[in-house]
């Protein structure tokens, strides 16, 4: 229960930044003088802002409801984040930007199965993903030598697609949490060349994969080192892990149109020297209704599929029974998201998105997957590559949308000013195959201009019997795999 990192260090650091960053501009000359000296010569200036965020959550862990292990899932979790966004302008063409979070976190109150269908408390223990760490969500240098040329090197979140809750064409960044846009900050290490013009922009980038990192800071990129790590971890392979991407953006007929080309080699999946294509579209229709489409087209799938023989009792190692079996099967597997958004007269907003992935699990594959989990659970091991939420060097997420099946509906509603400073909202993610999903209601209070207090709920909807899969006499749906009955999270965020 002891705190590993003293709170006062984070608070002290942020207070120092807060008190040092206040500035007032009452005229345009004040603003411009900040970028030029009295003589008009180039001068480096810094802009600082950020926030201090505290999240405390309680989850009702239900080991009996899931085939996933709960031994490392705390019921109580505390996350304290100090965020610093620093922009250093060096003249008008060059700037350095960092968006860095210092995160203290810890978890308590763990449960496991008691062998009789119930749960039993187990001792608090060390969990690697609950240790304090540093997250450089963004850290890059941007140079604009000509108005039509921008060069960027560093870590940056680059979103090109038009999807709101989810971007099927986003092969670059860590996955995001559709239930909370504030958690979608972290980017990827890239070198980017961008040519912006009035009606179109051409972008190309190179992204080496981060292979090893410590506390959010990478120490191996692109290729595994030739030697094992100090903990004995051996290099997985001697390949180069990277992504090359090109994108053409067009503003045509009041429509945002993006065309994408990706070429990757073992970048976050098993595809080797593979091309993928994509596109997106976004436009307002009938004044108030935004419509968007985003699609990725790939031949073969990098998704991990269960070994049917292994799942059904054949001799095998359950730890390696999930593998990319459709990687080179020659089939086209599109992933398409279609959605819309509107704001009503009362300023509430509604967005509805439908997502289809052709390489999602069929009913048989999903059943095999569950049987495999069951076998692994009985053997006391975890299948390698098991789809699950994680940190990926980003800010800890409440939920990672990593869909297993083929059809999904994501609905998000937000109503501001219930009373002046109160907003309510809810996000529903529904798997349409088995009608399971998650519901995430939110109440938010902007207590001060600089302070927001929020209460989040997170409730798995286990679905109706139609479409569920029965394994060992227990009915499962996709979202019944989440090893909890509900979760509450209280967040206090102070901006500076």
């Amino acid at each position: 229960m002891a705190l590993r990192t003293p709170y006062f260090l984070l608070i002290g650091l942020l207070w120092a930044l807060l008190t040092g960053s206040a500035s007032a501009q009452e005229s345009l000359d004040d603003l411009d003088a900040a970028k030029k000296g009295d003589s008009g010569a180039k001068k480096a200036t810094a802009e600082v802002n950020g926030y201090l965020d505290n999240r405390f959550q309680y989850s009702y862990i239900n080991p009996g409801s899931s085939l996933l292990s709960t031994v490392n899932q705390p019921s109580l979790q505390e996350i304290l984040e100090g965020n610093i966004q620093l922009k250093i302008n060096i003249g008008s063409k060059l700037f350095i930007y960092s968006d860095v979070s210092l995160i203290y976190q810890n978890g308590w109150l763990f449960y496991d199965k008691d062998g009789m269908g119930g749960r039993v408390k187990i001792d608090d223990h060390d969990v690697a993903t609950l240790r304090p760490f540093v997250v450089p969500s963004e850290l890059f240098v941007s140079l604009t030598p000509k108005p039509w040329l921008n060069l960027l090197v560093g870590k940056k979140r680059i979103i090109w697609g038009s999807g709101l809750a989810f971007n099927p064409t986003d092969l670059i960044n860590p996955p995001k949490d559709p239930t909370d846009p504030n958690f979608q900050r972290a980017g990827q290490w890239v070198a980017r060349i961008e040519l912006p013009f009035e009606k179109f922009t051409f972008t190309t980038l190179f992204a080496p994969q981060v292979l090893y990192q410590q506390n959010g800071l990478p120490f191996a990129m692109l290729k595994y080192p030739d030697y094992p790590l100090a903990d004995g971890t051996k290099p997985a392979d001697d390949s180069y892990h990277y992504l090359l991407a090109a994108r053409l953006y067009l503003l045509l007929f009041n429509t945002d149109i993006n065309l994408f080309y990706f070429f990757s080699n073992k970048y976050n999946d098993s595809f080797e020297n593979t091309s993928r294509f994509g596109g997106s579209f976004s436009r307002y229709f009938f004044t108030d209704y935004e419509l968007h489409v985003e699609a990725l087209f790939q031949v073969g799938s990098g998704k991990l599929y269960p070994n049917h023989q292994c799942a059904n009792g054949g001799l095998c190692n359950p730890q390696t029974a999930l593998f990319a079996s459709k990687l080179s099967d020659g089939n086209l597997y599109p992933r398409v998201l279609v959605g819309g958004r509107t704001q009503f007269r009362d300023e509430s907003t509604l967005s509805v998105e439908y997502y289809y992935q052709a390489d999602g699990y069929s009913a048989q594959e999903f059943e095999d997957y569950l049987r495999l989990l069951s076998r692994a659970q009985m053997a006391g091991i975890s299948p390698a590559g098991q789809p699950a939420g994680g940190t990926n060097g980003s800010v800890p997420q409440r939920f990672t949308f990593d869909p297993l099946r083929r059809h999904y509906l994501i609905v998000s509603y937000n109503k501001p000013k219930i009373r002046d400073d109160f907003s309510v909202g809810a996000t529903l993610i529904a798997g349409l195959t088995d009608l399971s999903g998650t519901l995430s209601p939110t109440v938010s209070w902007n207590a001060q201009e600089w302070l927001t207090l929020s209460l989040f709920g997170f409730v798995p909807i286990r679905g109706i019997p139609v479409g569920t899969v029965t394994v060992n006499d227990v009915q499962y749906s996709e979202y019944s795999l989440l090893p909890m009955d509900f979760r509450f999270l209280f967040e206090a965020r102070a901006y500076y």
């Binding site: 501009q25 009452e26 005229s27 345009l28 000359d29 603003l31 802002n49 926030y51 966004q85 700037f95 963004e138 941007s142 604009t144 108005p147 039509w148 921008n150 940056k156 979140r157 680059i158 979103i159 709101l164 846009p181 504030n182 979608q184 900050r185 980017g187 961008e194 912006p196 013009f197 009035e198 922009t201 972008t203 953006y249 503003l251 009041n254 945002d256 976004s282 436009r283 307002y284 009938f286 004044t287 108030d288 935004e290 509107t342 704001q343 300023e347 501001p416 000013k417 009373r419 002046d420 400073d421 902007n446 201009e449 600089w450 927001t452 901006y495 500076y496």
Partner: protein, 243 residues
């Protein structure tokens, strides 16, 4: 009812000669004047918006607005801290907001609320009444003003109908009423504190009242405004947001 109709007809007849006077500007000229005053051909402005809410508290936003020669507008928000880093862009009928928390830009509709205040996006980012409205002069209840009746002619116009009062002496906007298609008044505005910004006289202070919520109103104050600028076109492209 008969008395009202007779009075109205009489007032109309009395007002017609003044409307038709050769020295007086036409409705189209006055509307063009409004655009020139409220949205000069190019400008770089520093503005403060104070939203007064139902519970008597306020929220203050400070932002910079830049307008290109071809009628594009971009804004940068400095205050409050929660909105710092947000940017907005309008190109023709398209609007986007860049959200630093999301690290991306989202499309916006013209009629959506501007930062939750009582202005909508079109009020601030799309002041081109000549392009968006047909106009006619109607009798004014104030002898010192002309009254313009504006009807939306494009679907991107922020309102379906506007009644706009312009002062006769300096041809400055004095007040306005904004209506929905149903005829319901949504908002009303008062323009005052006319100041000279680098040669352009214009109201430095606008108060926009929300007619649907009794105590809500928003003040928009122009602190500074520079004119006749040469701004690179790339400042007004989507991919420049966040830079």
């Amino acid at each position: 009812m008969l008395r009202f109709a007779t009075t109205s007809a009489l007032l109309f007849c009395l007002s017609v000669p003044s409307l038709a006077s050769a020295a007086d500007p036409t409705a189209a000229e006055l509307l063009k004047r409004y655009d020139a005053v409220m949205s000069p051909k190019t400008f770089d402005g520093l503005m403060v918006m104070v939203a007064h809410r139902q519970d008597d508290t306020t929220r203050t936003y400070k932002f910079r607005a830049l307008k290109s020669q071809d009628d594009k507008i971009r804004t940068w928000f400095f205050e409050p801290a929660a909105a710092k880093g947000q940017e907005m862009l309008r190109v023709e009928d398209n609007m986007w907001v860049y959200m630093p928390n999301l690290k991306r830009a989202l499309r916006l509709a013209s009629r959506e609320s501007f930062q939750g205040g009582d202005f909508n996006n079109g009020d601030v980012l799309r002041v081109n009444y000549v392009a968006d409205y047909t106009v006619k002069l109607i009798p004014s209840d104030d002898a010192t003003t002309w009254l313009l009746d504006l009807t939306a002619k494009t679907k991107e116009a922020a309102y379906d109908r506007i009644k706009l009062w312009m002062t006769k002496d300096k041809q400055q906007p004095a007040k306005a009423e904004y209506y929905a298609a149903s005829g319901k008044m949504l908002r009303s505005a008062k323009f005052d504190d006319v100041k000279n910004f680098h040669g352009l006289e214009r109201p430095a202070h606008i108060t926009m009242k929300n007619e649907l919520a009794s105590k809500r109103y928003t003040e928009l104050t122009t602190l500074d405004m520079k004119l006749d600028l040469d701004i690179p076109a790339q400042k007004f492209v989507l991919d420049d947001l966040g830079r």
